[in-house]
Amino acid sequence: MIELRHVLLSVIVACFAQSAAANHADADAKRGERVFKKCRSCHKVGEGATNRVGPQLNLLFQRVAGSIEGFKYSESMLRAGADGLVWDHNTLDTYLENPKSLISKTRMNFRGLKDAGDRANVMAYLRQFSDNPANIPEASPTTVGTDHEVDPAILALQGDPEYGEYLSSECVSCHQIDGADSGIPSITNWPAEDFVIAMHAYKDKKRVHPVMQMMAGRLSAEEIAGLAAYFEKVGQ
C-alpha cells in the first residue's frame, strides 16, 4: 500500500517538477473555484464568510498562521504562527500540497492537492478575496525550494533505530522522552513518516523554527530515518 503510494507520488512529482511560480503565470481563478469545492465543506470565503470546521479564508494572504480570533486551532498551528509562519504563495503551496509537511498536528484533515496546477488555481481563486490582489507578492524573494514533496526514495529509507537512539541524545536535551510537551512539543511515538516529512521540511527551511532548521540541516536523510525509527517505537 505504502509502496504503491510512493510509486504514484514519483510519477506525479515527475509530471509537475516545474516551479510553483511558473505555474502561477497561467493560474486560473475560475478553475480554482472548481478545485475549491474540495475545501468548501469546511472553509468559507467571500462576503460574510464565517469560521466553520475550518477558519474563514478572506484576507488569507499575508495572514499570520493561526491568527483568526476565536477560531480553535491546533497547538501546532498556533506555534507555527508564533514562530513566524505567514501565509503567502509559497507557504500555502507547501501546505496545500501536504498539510502535515508544514504543520504536523494540523486539524485540517485533508490529504493535500498533489497537482501543482490545482494548487496554483485555487490560490488564484483565494487571492480574489484579499485586499489588494495585485500587490500580493508571488513569493517572497527569500523562500527556497519549490519541490515541496519529500522525495519518495527518502520516505522509503529504512532507518536504523540503534543509530537513531544515539542521535536522539541531541534531541532529548529539549524534547522530553516521556512525551511531556510544555513549551517544547513532544516527538515521542510519532509515525515514522510524519517524523521524516517534518524533519525534511525543517531541513529545506519550509518550516521556520531556527533551532530545528539548524538541527535538521546537519542531519542526512539516513540519520533522519534512524531518528524516525527510534522515536516511533521508543518506550513501547
Partner: protein, 423 residues
Amino acid sequence: MKLNRRNFIGSAAAVSATLSAPMVMGGSHGRPRVVVIGGGAGGATAARYLAKDGKGMIDVTLVEPTRTYYTCFFSNLYIGGFREFSSIGHTYGKLAADYGINVIHDWAIGVDRDAKTVTLAGGGTLPYDRLVLSPGIDFKEGAVPGWDVTAQQKMPHAYKAGSQTQLLKSQLEAMPQGGTFCMVAPPNPFRCPPGPYERVSMVAHHLKANNPTAKILIVDPKPKFSKQALFQEGWSNHYDGMIEWIGPDFGGDKVEVRPDMMEVVIDGEVTKVDVCNVIPAMKAGKIAEIAGVTNEAGWAPVHAATMASKVDQNIHVLGDASHQGDMPKSGFAANSQAKVAAMAIRGALTGSKVFPAKFTNTCWSLIETNDGIKVGASYEATDEKIAKTDGFISKTGEDAALRKVTFEESVGWYDGITSDMFG
C-alpha cells in the same frame, strides 16, 4: 578501535578474555570502572549515559559533595521572582536507584594519574579505568582587587547556584528605595556568556515593580557582550533609564571593590552602592588543576572527538572546566559534551559502536515577562577543536508572540535537560 595497553596490565586472563569477548576490558577487578567527579550538567549527564547505555557493563561512581544540586540555569529567574527556589533543586536519588550509579556525597581532593585513583576528603580512595572531570568553575584569585571568597557574604557572586543565589536575592529585596545595584561583570571566557545580562534584566524586573527609582550599574571589562543588541533593546523597551553599562572605554576594566564599606572604585572614582554582585574571572574547578590537566590560563585542553584531556587519555574533562574550542561554557554545552564523552568511553571500555561526535548549544535568556530570546549553534569535532558549523540568534524587533513562545520553549528545555541529567 585502539586498545589501551594499560587496561590490560593486571592479568593475562583479561587479555585472553578480551580475544574471545572484547566486551570486558577492565582487568582483574571485573567490570571497567568509571569515576565521575562533579554531579552537574556535564557530570550527571555523563554518569547517566554511561550507566544507561552501558547496560550494566560499566561500574559508574559519581562523586558530588552536595545532596541537592541547584542549577545555575534558571537561577536568574528565581532572582527575578519567576521561579521558586525549590524548583531549581535536583537530587541524585534516581541516578542511584534507577541507573545503579554509585553516588558518593564527598569532595574529591586528589587524583593519582599513575595509580589511577581518586582520593576523597572523607578518606576513601576510588580506583578508575577512566576518570571524568566536570567540576565546573572556580574564581581566579586577585581578579577583582579588594574581593576574595571571604568577601562573598557581603558581595556575593551568585555564580555557583545555591545559598549565594538566595543571598543575592535577599540583598536585592532589602535595597533602600532609590538605591544602587552594582554588578562587576567577568572577563572572557566565563560560564554562561549571557548570564550576567540576563541577571541584570531579572534584577531590573524586580526593581521596576518594587523600587522603581533604583539604579543598576554594570561595570564591565569587555567591550561587548553576548546578545548585546537584544539585551540593550529590551532594556530600553522595559527598563528605560534604569540600567547603566560602563564598558572599558569608561573605565569598566579598572575596578576595585571595598566590601566593608560597600564601595566600588571605577577608574579611581568612588561610588557607594547598596548591593554589589561581583562575578570575578574564572578558571576550571580546582580538582582539574590538582589532577594536572589544566593549562596556564586555568582551563583543561581536550581532544574534541572524545573530550579526553590532551595531557592524559584516561581523563575526560567536560563542561565549563574544559578548553575545547568554539562552544560557550553553558549547561546545554556540558550536557552535549557529556554524551559524546560517554559514547567514546563506552567504546573504549566495552567495544560498543562509536559514532561521529556532534555537539549543539542553545542559550535562552529572559529579559522581561514573556520576552525570551535565544542564541545557538551546532558544532563538529575537528583535529584542532570543537568547531562551529552553523548558528542562529533571535532578532531585534521580533513581535511579542514570538518572544513569548521563545520563553515557553526555555521552560520546556529546562524540564528536558534536567530529566536528561537526573533521569
